[in-house]
Amino acid sequence: MSFSTLLLLIFAFSLCSFFFSSSSAFKKIKSATSRPSALPKHYGQYSLAWTLFPAFLLLIVFTIIGPIYVDNFFKQQIALTEASYDKAKIELVLAMIKNISNGSISSDEPKILKLAEEYSNYLSKIYLFRTLSVLLLSSILGIIISSNINILKNSRVKVETFYRILFFVSAVIAIFTTVGIIASLLYESLRFFALYPFFDFLFGLHWAPNIAIRSDQVAAQGSFGMLPVLIGTILVALIAMIVALPIGLFSAIYLAEFASKRVRDIIKPTLEVLAGIPTVVYGYFAALTAAPFIRKIGMTLGLDVSSESALAAGAVMGIMIIPFISSLSDDIINSVPQSLRDGSLGLGATKAETTIKVVLPAAFPGLVGAFLLAVSRAIGETMIVVMAAGLSANLTINPLETVTTVTVQIVSLLTGDTEFDDIKTLSAFGLGLALFAFTLILNVIALVVSRRLSEQYD
């Protein structure tokens, strides 16, 4: 039975047990002489939880472990029958067996056909076992719990404890996600650094991940020095910040300090629309409108502008970041206490002087935090640079030339079919780790700066 049918079945089971238990608890409570400890629905929820969750967990475990177990079993089988095969060859044969048993390809080797048949038999056995065990577990637990309802036991407390554990687990998922990200990036990166020296990766000046087709070819192994990629990333982010920072900051100052309420109510949502546009749209704009436009301007000025210049990608990325900076800064400026402004105005300063000499210094730590968050966003931004920046890693700080960024390289190394033991794939995880570390550091600095430097005014 398929995963979704099973899921639906155990849902149905647990609903049955819910209604059965709550109605039987209701009857018992009615005829009871002593006071019941909980409402009928709590008994229902109690048996629902027992019918649903153990079976659900079992289902998940089977679905994940089952195929892995079968794969390992067949790898051993292949290794036993063909002792000469090495690891890669075994994987290949296994993939072939899987494809044959799916029916997507066919083979004329009887040995492989036989293995494929065994494989699909084995897998269907595992699935049958999964179906039986999940259904049995769910129904047995459901029947036991719902037929043994004791209204003197307080099932509300039990149900609430269960909820509380469930809530705690969901909160801890945030930790699991972070751990998962770090672990997966580290694991693949360590495999990469086993193939390619760490310091060459970090400080190398040459990035050319193209692996030769023949192993005896010159430059058979690609070169993975990430410095040019990093410089390119920083260059694009810098251009973006040059565009976004003044525009975003001045907009925020105007909106927070000078604009009337009506103007504010119109402009703010409009800027939020700008923030809600997907990055792929900005990428499309950058690649098909902004880049040719900048190239044309450059040509009329007699400059040689690349069609995938860092300037186009950076400028459009700046447009994307404007609303981010302006709305964050607006909130920060608004949170400066009114008493500071009143004091300054009362001493005879103009509104502009108050803004520049009183409000902005008070908001400064928060603004620095917002700025750093914006930089981290610019560095991690993917689609704009994938569509508008280039692929070749030039070690240059000329904004009119083509540069590449960390995210572009990750995308170009990982799109299409990827094998996990290829050095190119692994190098993408190395870049991913660098990107993660970089943005993490920026985020932490932003947090620390805005916490440490900010003063309490009220």
């Binding site: 996600t177 990036l185 949502p269 990055t279 792929v280 499309y284 447009i319 520049i356 991690g380 990982l414």
Partner: protein
């Protein structure tokens, strides 16, 4: 009255000027931002609206029913495969030009019809088998270059050798348009087809369905987890290291680049758990992990906005803490949670990078029908089309953007509207 000397008046003027300047800078930057927004939308709108129409050619066709019907009189797919539908189309098309006899001319004439026109014809008869054996008039797609020329988007100033259409072909198209044999009609294939190699029959339906499936997984996965986590953090977490650590993690996850979630999906969901590639299931899980922090932050804010007196009253009447939280506080916080969820979903709908990592960037001509079948999503479709060589894909890309952005704006305004409507001052 205080005496004002000239110096003071001068300084006052300078100070007033400075204030004026600051205001002007502010207005300038806001208008710059708005100009950029409108340039963006107008340029995309201008290049996209024309994709609503598509060039079709009127053909008179008669197909022998013996070729395609089986013994029982039903449409036989196997027999239909053997029929040369393209030949039928091009023969009928060439009858418009009786004067043409040379093979090479015929070939360049045939190139004006879409290479999918034969397929369209077959589909038509599959749906209407009664029309077999009769002379019917049918509108079939012209080639993408034909289409672009009719829309005036074909650059004729280029040297003939470097063009995709020769002068002769352009003359033919002009003739067909003048005789009203070819016309621009509403582009239905854009809305009912999935992706295709031929721009004239490429549509967004596959991507829309893919996005819907992906977002279904995202919301089923992210919303319950996020709400439970925020209730825990607001009501049950004891202040301490663990709670602090959870909060730091949530805030940090909200600021991690989206592509990193794609890497996580690639190495954990695909590499470790062995889930299928390109599937909405995996895409939805990645986007869900990415959206959870957004929803948690919004939910916590709206739970906190419910005054403690509500909770205290519930507790005083004998409710347990869980009952106070679930029966009294959560319903009052629901509009805020809903707003946060809509914003998170809008973000997830526009997200591309993680989907590229887990292989949802494949070329898929079939509309996905399950959570584990290979699919693509709207933003990825836009990305793929704008990467294509054919010019006709650009306008389709723009039109798809208009739909996506329109939908996102509706989602976001709904969120704003709900926030205004249900906003309560306690």
């Amino acid at each position: 009255m205080i005496d004002k000397n000239i110096d003071q008046l001068k300084r006052l003027k300078l100070r007033k000027n400075a204030e004026m300047r600051l205001k002007v800078y502010g207005i300038l930057s806001i208008s710059l931002a708005l100009i950029m927004l409108s340039t963006l939308m107008i340029s995309i709108g201008l290049s996209g609206y024309s994709a609503l129409q598509q060039a079709y050619v009127k053909l008179e066709i008669n197909v022998d029913s013996k070729k395609v019907l089986d013994e029982k009189g039903g449409f036989s797919n196997q027999k239909a495969l053997l029929v040369n539908w393209d030949g039928i189309v091009s023969n009928s098309f060439i009858t418009n030009f009786p004067e043409i006899t040379k093979r090479s001319e015929k070939r360049s004439l045939r190139a004006l019809m879409s290479s999918n026109a034969g397929y369209e014809l077959r589909q038509y008869f599959q749906k209407n088998p009664d029309d077999l054996d009769e002379n019917i008039t049918i509108w079939l797609s012209a080639s993408d270059d034909f289409d672009q020329y009719m829309k005036g988007r074909f650059n004729t100033s280029v040297d003939e050798k470097d063009r995709r259409l020769s002068n002769q072909q352009l003359k033919w198209i002009d003739f067909l348009a003048m005789e009203k044999i070819s016309k621009l009609k509403f582009n239905t294939s854009f809305f009912v087809n999935a992706d295709s190699r031929e721009p004239e029959s490429a549509g967004i339906l596959g991507a829309v369905v893919g996005s819907t499936l992906t977002l279904t997984i995202t919301i089923l996965f992210a919303l319950p987890l996020a709400v439970m986590a925020s209730v825990y953090l607001e009501y049950f977490a004891k202040p301490g290291r663990l709670t602090d650590f959870i909060e730091v993690n949530i805030n940090n996850l909200a600021a991690i680049p989206s592509i990193v979630f794609g890497l996580l999906g690639l190495s954990v969901f695909l590499g470790f758990f062995g889930l299928p590639r390109s599937a909405p299931l995996v895409g939805g899980l990645c986007l869900g992990l990415m959206t959870i922090p957004t929803i948690i932050i919004a939910s916590r804010a709206s739970i906190r906005a419910v005054p403690p007196s509500i909770k205290d009253a519930a507790l005083a009447l004998g409710a347990s803490r869980m009952q106070a939280a679930l029966h009294h506080v959560l319903p009052l916080a629901a509009p805020g949670i809903l707003t946060g969820t809509i914003i998170g979903m809008a973000q997830a709908l526009g997200e591309t990078a993680p989907l590229l990592m887990i292989g949802m960037v494949a070329f898929i001509i079939e509309t996905p029908d399950s959570f584990t079948s290979a699919a693509t999503a709207m933003p990825v479709q836009i990305f793929m089309w704008s990467d294509s060589a054919e010019r006709a894909f650009y306008e389709r890309s723009s039109l798809a953007i208009l739909f996506l952005v329109g939908f996102l704006i509706i989602m976001n305004s709904l969120a704003v509207f709900l926030r205004r409507k249900f906003e309560k001052k306690w």
